[in-house]
């Protein structure tokens, strides 16, 4: 039995009720439906706002993070007054202000193999708005194993991808990408930056696909991958087919239960930017400052991209972008102490691994990058 609409709801959704493909019954379907949104960030923001506005009766939000200033350029469900608050609480407050008649469940936790089944169980559809590969594979496998549609979206700088992965009728994410890229090869938004509007475009497409699925109208992106390029303002589609040898949805699946996705993706944990703490090759900003003041001879190498130097730089540092480091090894003296840094320590950690594998033994990584330097040593520098 579909739930009835109240007088207030009939007025609120009148523009939907006028569309024959939605109509009164369609709106009642939306009221009786549920959607779980993984991630309350760039993609999750527009998805959550539009699903709430559209009257999806039960929305779940999963995110472990808190709202930061640097989120607000694109994560439009959050406001300045919510900086420091849990993202799921901030988003829930905004959604209930937008539509008090819906139920919003906030899950302030990492989405993991241990809790994914429990969290996802009551929901009709899952929307992948995460920012890292382990959670994307987890979301995919969960959807295949529980026969739920996975509305996929992913972004990078000016480009986005969207699809619907529903193994019952078409390919899954693993059919397209059987394995993740090697860690570090595809930079995250925090490293590479992203056009703030981009997740709005892709997230809105995800919301559209979710609403269409819940209403049972139109033709979905299942079996097609949408490729959007904001710089060219181009939308292209490529065809996707089910991979008969897919390890999770193929004829002879190897993955029959959720696995350890961090291990599968070769990452130590969720994609945090900070370098690993306590490693012997780490140096703190204060230690580095003290060494420089003592006149210790060391070579300070900034592995960020050249355009980032306009935001902040450390005096005396030379710029060798990470992508050019391998080609610059012959210019470095293995006997000299080298300190690498980037924005927050992630790229320089990869630079350090590259130097270490080339036989350099006297290399350090500035823990927390130039942002830590800006917090602990030179407060005149901005943090970004």
């Amino acid at each position: 039995m579909l739930p009835e609409l109240s007088r207030e709801e009939i007025l609120r959704y009148s523009r939907h009720l006028l569309v024959p493909e939605v109509g009164l019954n369609g709106q009642r379907k939306l009221k009786g439906s549920s959607a779980l949104i993984i991630g309350s960030g760039g993609l999750g923001s527009p998805v959550a706002l539009y699903l709430a506005a559209a009257g999806v009766g039960h929305i779940g939000l999963v995110d472990y993070d808190v709202v930061e200033e640097s989120n607000l350029q694109r994560q439009i469900v959050h406001g300045t007054g919510m900086v420091g608050r849990l993202k799921v609480d901030s988003a829930r407050t905004r959604l209930l202000d937008l539509n008090p008649a819906i139920q919003v469940d906030a899950f302030n936790e990492s989405f993991t193999s241990a809790n994914a089944m429990r969290i996802a169980e009551p929901f009709d559809i899952i929307i992948d708005g995460t920012d890292n590969f382990p959670t994307r594979y987890l979301t995919n496998d969960l959807c295949v194993l529980t026969d739920k549609p996975n509305v996929y979206g992913a972004i990078h700088r000016f480009e986005g991808q969207a699809s619907v992965f529903y193994a019952r009728e078409g390919p899954c994410y693993r059919c397209l990408f059987p394995e993740p890229p090697p860690p570090g090869l595809v930079p995250s938004c925090a490293e590479a930056g992203v056009l703030g509007i981009l997740p709005g475009t892709i997230g809105t497409i995800q919301a559209t696909e979710a609403i269409k699925f819940l209403l049972g109208i139109g033709s979905s992106l299942s079996g097609r991958l949408l490729l959007y390029d904001a710089l060219d303002m181009s939308f292209e589609y490529v065809k996707l087919k089910k991979n008969p040898e897919c390890k999770v949805c193929g004829a002879h699946p190897e993955v029959t239960a959720l696995i350890d996705y961090n291990e599968f993706c070769g990452v130590p944990g969720l994609e945090h930017e900070e370098g690993p703490e306590g490693r012997e090759w780490d140096i703190t900003a204060r230690e580095l400052s003290a060494q420089l003041k003592r006149g210790k001879p060391l070579r300070l190498i900034d592995v960020r991209e050249p355009h980032e130097l306009a935001i902040s730089h450390i005096k005396g540092a030379e710029n060798i972008p990470l992508g050019e480091l391998a080609g610059a090894l012959s210019k470095l003296d293995p006997s000299q102490e080298i300190v690498l840094f980037c924005k927050k320590g992630s790229r320089s950690r990869r630079g350090l691994e590259l130097l270490a594998s080339a036989g350099f033994k006297n290399v350090k990584n500035l823990r927390g990058g130039i942002n830590a330097w800006a917090m602990e040593v030179d407060r005149s520098l901005p943090i970004y």
């Binding site: 991630g39 960030g41 760039g42 993609l43 999750g44 992948d128 708005g129 995460t130 920012d131 890292n132 590969f133 994307r136 979206g153 992913a154 972004i155 990078h156 700088r157 000016f158 480009e159 991808q161 397209l176 990408f177 059987p178 394995e179 993740p180 890229p181 090697p182 090869l185 595809v186 930079p187 995250s188 938004c189 590479a192 992203v194 997740p199 991958l225 490729l227 292209e236 589609y237 490529v238 065809k239 996707l240 087919k241 991979n243 994609e271 992508g323 391998a326 080609g327």
Partner: protein, 90 residues
């Protein structure tokens, strides 16, 4: 000459270009030609046996070469190849 479209996450390996013109009668030959032009890209894109890594897909005119003849998929002068990697940003 067929063209190979390169998405932004991988452009740093091809001097920032969005498109590379490639020679070759098959998808595999075209890929080899591109890698000969940009050898530093090879270890990131290919496994030791020369085949593309599983996080990258190569499409000819919108169809995955896995669903055609793989690296032996024939290529005409007007064909467009798309290199599509997994991206994770959200």
């Amino acid at each position: 000459m067929p063209s190979l479209k390169i998405p932004t996450p991988l452009r740093s390996y091809v001097n920032g270009q969005a498109e590379v013109l490639v020679r070759g009668a098959t998808a595999g030959a075209a890929l080899e030609d591109m890698l000969a032009q940009y050898p530093a890209f090879r270890p990131h894109l290919c496994k030791e046996d020369g085949s593309p890594r599983a996080f990258v897909n190569l499409f000819r005119n919108g169809i995955n070469i896995r669903d055609l003849q793989g690296l032996d998929t024939p290529l005409g002068p007007e064909d467009i190849l798309n290199l599509i990697p997994a991206i994770a940003g959200g």
